[in-house]
Symmetry: C2
Subunit: 153 residues, 2 copies
């Protein structure tokens, strides 16, 4: 895995980005950034916080919230407001949609180019000006389906 190498490169970019934006690259911010890169795709503030405390035992949850908000402004993450869910933070900045498992709550990225390039519904102009669309799939993920199958046997 040259995951680490990739991360180093990203850290350089973070430093640069902070410099440009006149934002201090504090120890906490750096570590939160590393956690974001290390963790699977849709962490909650809570999850980052828990992991972070292993390295920085005195860090506060609100620092995580503040930092994630800062990163959101910098464009490093995207705040995800899924329905009926706590706020998650998306490190995948490509155009995509989400699948949320009703059973284990896992969130997976869905790519659907045909939808992305699809023209808007007719008469939408009368309603107003569309700036963005948000699409979610809900269901049961492969993994939970398999567990369910086992349970029945």
């Amino acid at each position: 895995m040259d995951n680490a190498k990739f991360t180093k490169q990203q850290i350089e970019e973070l430093k640069k980005l902070c410099g440009e934006s006149g934002i201090k690259l504090t120890h906490q911010r750096l570590e939160i950034f590393k956690e974001l890169m290390a963790v699977s795709n849709h962490p909650s503030a809570e999850l980052i916080y828990k992991r972070l405390r292993r390295k920085l035992p005195t860090v506060a949850l609100d620092t995580v919230y503040r930092t994630l908000a800062t990163f959101d402004e910098l464009g490093l993450v995207k705040k995800l407001h899924l329905m009926n869910e706590r706020t998650l933070f998306d490190t995948n900045l490509k155009v995509h949609h989400h699948f949320i498992c009703n059973h284990c709550r896992k969130v997976e990225d869905i790519y659907w180019q045909r939808f992305d390039s699809c023209k808007l519904p007719e008469g939408i102009g009368e309603v107003g000006m569309i700036e963005s669309r948000h699409l979610e799939f809900h269901g049961v993920c492969r993994n939970c389906l398999n567990i369910g199958r086992k349970d029945k046997q």
Copy 2:
């Protein structure tokens, strides 16, 4: 307006539905139902509560929440979890999507049959079993666009 007549009919249906479900048709439930029918399409619990207090000054907010949850179970309303929004209650039970104005937060119903009957993205089966889809449009509504135009002049 024969809105009132229509409402009477609906109240009969509510009585019947409560009877069938073994649920008591209390004064509060009836009045909450009437407010739902009277109010524009996507009320919050708070809005219903405020209006309700004009008739029942001692009613409690949690009663409204409980009643709306009950109505949701009965299929009379649908709980709407829009992203980044408080929970709203939808009295439109037809298949539709939502447009949310970024400016005034108004929610409007969008019909898009071409999407509804569209086949799912390829390879979605690997992710899991889709049970529902949820589509939102965000932008600026006609009304706010016009206000914006006036402001500039």
